[in-house]
Amino acid sequence: MSILYDEGQQAIATESRRVLDARMDKGRLLGLLEQVAQIDQPFWDTAVEQGWTALALPEEHGGLGLGLTELGLVAQAAGAATSGAPFLTVGYGAAQALLAAGHTDDLAALAAGEKLATVAFAEGSDPLPAGSAVTFSEGKLTGTKPAVIGGLKADLAVVLAIHDWQPVLVVATLTDVTRTAVPSFDNSRLYADLTFAATPATVLAEGQTALDLARDVLARMAVVTAHEQVGGAEALLNIARDYSLTRKAFGQPIGAFQSIKHRIAELYGLIEVARANCIHAAASEGAPDFLIAAADARLSATEAYDTAARDCVQIHGGIGVTWEQGLHLHMRRARTLGIEQGNLLFWEDLLVDQLAGKYQNEGAGA
């Protein structure tokens, strides 16, 4: 489904961008890169104050009852500002898993921003391991989930584990879990290895149902992230354009050289394709082709943001690689967002499996 944003949605887009423009600070974000375990508190305070934590949760659980489209618009603004907090996406993902399983006790606290939740699915190159290294037995989790997003601060996590060699999706409180910080090239993502040692956990889903639910949650988070990537890519396009209009070489603005202007025009193409896919995917929430739409959004948004990061730095020349100029904030974020919520390779495979299967079902005339 493709939509035109209505007035309410346009207002969310404008307002979230306005607030972040006013409150985000490049110097502060640069500082966070050199500290492990520091979240960008002003961003998170803003997110809670603006109700972004409540946005996509049902009203009966303290939410605002809106959906992926609205959350996507906020994520787009957050992406443009390289906002320094990961919980917008993983908090939403965890809440969706809890909601689907009817495990609603913590939802009001999540909506109010009083608790932080994350999702612990990925292990190395597998974003959705059917045979996890974390085991669940007699109500307890044991083993390590590596580099969990927001793992250093989260209060609870939805974990994909195995039970009797079958996938199981559980939720665990992280109070007594060992958290080992993962120093990264993008530290405000708060990556941590979470080591469970007989940690009590509650089952949300088992077997194939667990895997299906985890995949759906991953796809939803991928759509939010894709919006964030589009926001980042668009910010870079604007930065590149503005710079190429003011920077002069050989007696003219460098934006007059086709090597520069065509590079920027190509970026525009990548971004608009990704944006259109994002709009379609968000509006396809719950539809039969949601996975395909999510994959399309994810693939095109990752390509757009990575390319924008590469090209924007290149267009700036020497100044583009300085610490102070800060383009590396986007370069770093483009890669962390590209890895979080399933890398390109994962989404390519998932998409082709869907298409090849779809082709079989519908026959040659599809």
Binding site: K261, H262, I264, G269, A295, Y359
Partner: protein, 401 residues
């Protein structure tokens, strides 16, 4: 106005009824002349059934429906492979321009009806040997001749000129002013003395484009369209009309489903090619790109339905779709290996990878080359500076050759 979904159903019923006689299958093996004759019959039938001039005023034999209705019909018709290619340019640009600017209104009405019925074909003479992308560099000149004009010069890449009865043309009427300012737009009788058409055989084997030589061709002043010196503005207007054509995220080549099918049927290293990572990556990336273009199209339709102007992102369609079709077609040939070598020059471009590959370069050049489209996006959408133009503001006749 008839509701869009109802209209689609109606269009489909009409097209189904026409298919046995006119669609892709019925046309196979036709010579170009046979296909043109069949096309004229189809156009007449389409006119009689009320599916001609869909978004044109009833005053000119049109249906008075919206641009959306036209796009909806064209998109459906495209699936059937009807013999409409000969009339695409004619009804796409020159005839609408006549409706806007033709001086003799009775003459215009007569021409429009005949063009809609496929009895007459119009061509569009813009490009010249000295200027394709740089339209305003054209050299075909007109000089006052009594109460009319006399025209000399040469046009090139003129689609279907060899079958055309009339054409529209941009000429240089004043070489002493800057190049954009000295142009004037006319219509031409293609059968008039001094007009000579020579087909050009293209790399793919077909000859739908032509050179047109203009030797002392007499034009009456009532053949002039718009003001003297207003030709460049009219040329831009002509190109604007193209906005309401059906797009194709497959770049007018085979659908991605065809590639998936090929990958499932072909073995690579002892396994189905659909299991090969390189093939999977190509499928996935192409799907993501085409889905994005499709979404852009649907949103443009919604905007038009809401009475809004579609966004500039629509200008990406041809640029992105055609060059990716070119690469995917190359990969499809690679995938088949020696089985790709047998070639049928009459195969359908939306079904055959060889034909799609061989004709793809035309798609990347005609109607605005990739490079010109990138310039347009950079300058008009993103506000980047124009290229260095040493001929800017200089009278045409003082520009160094």
């Amino acid at each position: 106005m008839i509701e869009l979904e109802t209209y689609r159903v109606k269009a489909r019923a009409f097209l189904d009824s026409m298919a046995p006689k006119y669609a892709r299958k019925a046309r196979s093996g036709n010579t170009v002349e046979q296909d043109l004759a069949l096309g004229r019959q189809y156009m007449a039938a389409r006119y009689d059934a009320g599916f001609a001039g869909i978004n044109w005023s009833p005053e000119y034999g049109g249906q008075g429906l919206s641009n959306l209705h036209k796009i909806a019909f064209d998109a459906k018709e495209m699936h059937y492979g009807m013999p409409v290619g000969f009339f695409g340019i004619s009804l796409g640009m020159p005839v609408p321009m006549m409706i806007h600017y033709g001086q003799d209104r009775e003459f215009v009405k007569e021409r429009v009806t005949k063009a809609l019925r496929g009895e007459e074909i119009w061509c569009q003479m813009f490009s010249e040997p000295s200027g394709g992308s740089d339209l305003a560099a054209l050299r075909t000149k007109v000089e006052p001749d009594g109460n009319g004009w006399r025209m000399n010069g040469q046009k090139v890449w003129t689609s279907w000129a060899q079958y055309s009865d009339y054409g529209v043309i941009v000429t240089r009427s004043d070489p002493t002013v800057a190049k954009h300012k000295g142009l004037t737009y006319f219509w031409v009788d293609m059968k008039a003395p001094g007009v000579e058409v020579r087909p050009i055989k293209l790399a793919g084997g077909d000859s739908h484009v032509n050179e047109v030589f203009l030797d002392n061709v007499r034009l009456e002043d009532n053949q002039r369209m718009g003001e003297v010196g207003g030709g460049f503005g009219l040329a831009l207007h002509t190109l604007m009309i193209e906005r309401y054509i059906a797009t194709d995220s497959a770049g007018f080549g085979p659908h991605l489903d065809e590639f998936v099918k090929l990958a499932k049927e072909t073995t690579l290293n002892g396994r189905p090619a659909i299991e090969d990572g390189r093939i999977r990556s190509a499928i996935a990336r192409n799907h993501a790109m085409r889905a994005g273009l499709d979404s852009i199209t649907r949103r443009a339709m919604l905007m038009m339905q809401a009475g809004m102007q579609p966004g500039p992102e629509g200008s990406l369609q041809k640029l992105v779709a055609v060059r990716s079709r070119q690469k995917l077609s190359e990969l499809a040939l690679d995938l088949q290996g020696t089985a790709a070598l047998p070639f049928d020059e009459h195969a359908y471009v939306k079904e055959d990878w060889g034909t799609s590959w061989l004709n793809a370069p035309t798609g990347r050049i005609a109607g605005g080359s990739d490079e010109v489209l990138l310039n347009t996006i950079a300058e008009k959408v993103l506000g980047l500076p124009q290229d260095y133009r040493p001929d800017k503001g200089i009278p045409f006749n003082q520009i160094p050759a």
